[in-house]
Symmetry: C2
Subunit: 206 residues, 2 copies
């Protein structure tokens, strides 16, 4: 047994968030990207992750791809199930925070109440809401997945921004104008915030 | 922007499990502790985590405390809900593996089929089943939480080992005789296995 732990009998956790953060050399936070479909949440989240990884940070991005087919594979897209979806993502993010990881989530998460619930789930200051603000016209003209077209044709019901509301954040920690900023500028904005908040060490230049 | 990434536009994840494992200096695996209530699963899992953390590994323990009140707070202890509980833990563990973390779980998980389902969920070789084998008499005589007493009195229905089956693993990667081995010996057994499998680097002496 390493160190002087020979006579210790553990019953409870001895490794906690603080010790993990010390090992990692950075704090863990939850970066919650929200915005319309096509606003660039996922692209920005992955680009921020790349930058953080290159700086030696432990990171993980949650998005539809790795959550909707797995943990939330039993849920539909009804209002109720979308709420349960966000709840589980919030609870899981909380465990990633405990694990010392910078968790990034890229979900439309259109309802203020749902985002607020996740915010109140994690310790104060650990929830960093990043609003990817983009005019719906821009999102619709991109329409990478062809979803807006389907929504306009009535093939998708309750599509956010078309037939279902998107409630803009009122107090997002970061607002990224994704229809005017480049991806590089957007990444710099987020990384700058993490430096200022003391989440990651070192220079704030990106 | 660090390095030569200035002209890259990301749409998908660029940080993957391999890069995270390289950053961490160890592989990620799922250590699935199973056994009767009172067999020492949680104690052993936390002691193994302590040893791994001291060796500089990224770890996280899932147990009733951090899962049952959060992610699975909506579930009861019915057969169906216990199955859903294990499913969600499996799916979440899979994401922790992706995140480069050594995930340790301490749940009775009495049914072979449920454990098998989690095993088949993660890449081949990443599921390490650790059977904490302990005579039920020993578990019952410890009865740390007073649960056996309640089960015998009929106050708890479907209590594993008393009124509900525990299906012993047939091919556990590690069997720990927790009623005869000391905690130190048990930890050494698990750590030795992780060294032999190349999960963690360095000396296998504990």
């Amino acid at each position: 047994m390493t160190g002087n732990s020979s006579n210790v009998v553990w019953h409870h956790a001895t490794v906690n968030r603080q010790r993990r953060e010390a090992l990692n050399g950075h704090k863990s936070v939850l970066l919650w990207f929200t915005g319309l479909s096509g606003a660039g949440k996922s692209t920005l989240a992955h680009a921020v992750e790349e930058e953080l990884h290159q700086r030696g940070c432990r990171t993980f991005v949650f998005d539809g791809d790795n959550v909707r087919h797995g943990l939330c594979g039993d849920l539909s897209f009804s209002i109720e199930d979308r709420r349960e979806n966000i709840r589980r993502i919030g609870e899981m993010s909380k465990l990633f925070l405990e694990a010392g990881v910078i968790a990034l989530t890229a979900f439309i998460s259109p309802l203020r109440e749902d985002r607020q619930r996740v915010r109140s789930l994690v310790p104060h200051g650990d929830f960093i809401e990043i609003y990817c603000r983009c005019a719906i016209g821009t999102c619709e003209s991109r329409d990478v997945k062809g979803l807006y077209k389907k929504a306009r044709a009535g093939e998708i019901k309750e599509f956010t921004g078309i037939s279902s509301p998107y409630e803009e954040p009122r107090n997002a920690e970061v607002v990224v104008e994704t229809d005017t900023l480049s991806l590089e500028q957007s990444v710099a904005l987020v990384i700058g915030q993490l430096c200022e908040r003391g989440v990651i060490p070192g220079g704030c230049d990106v």
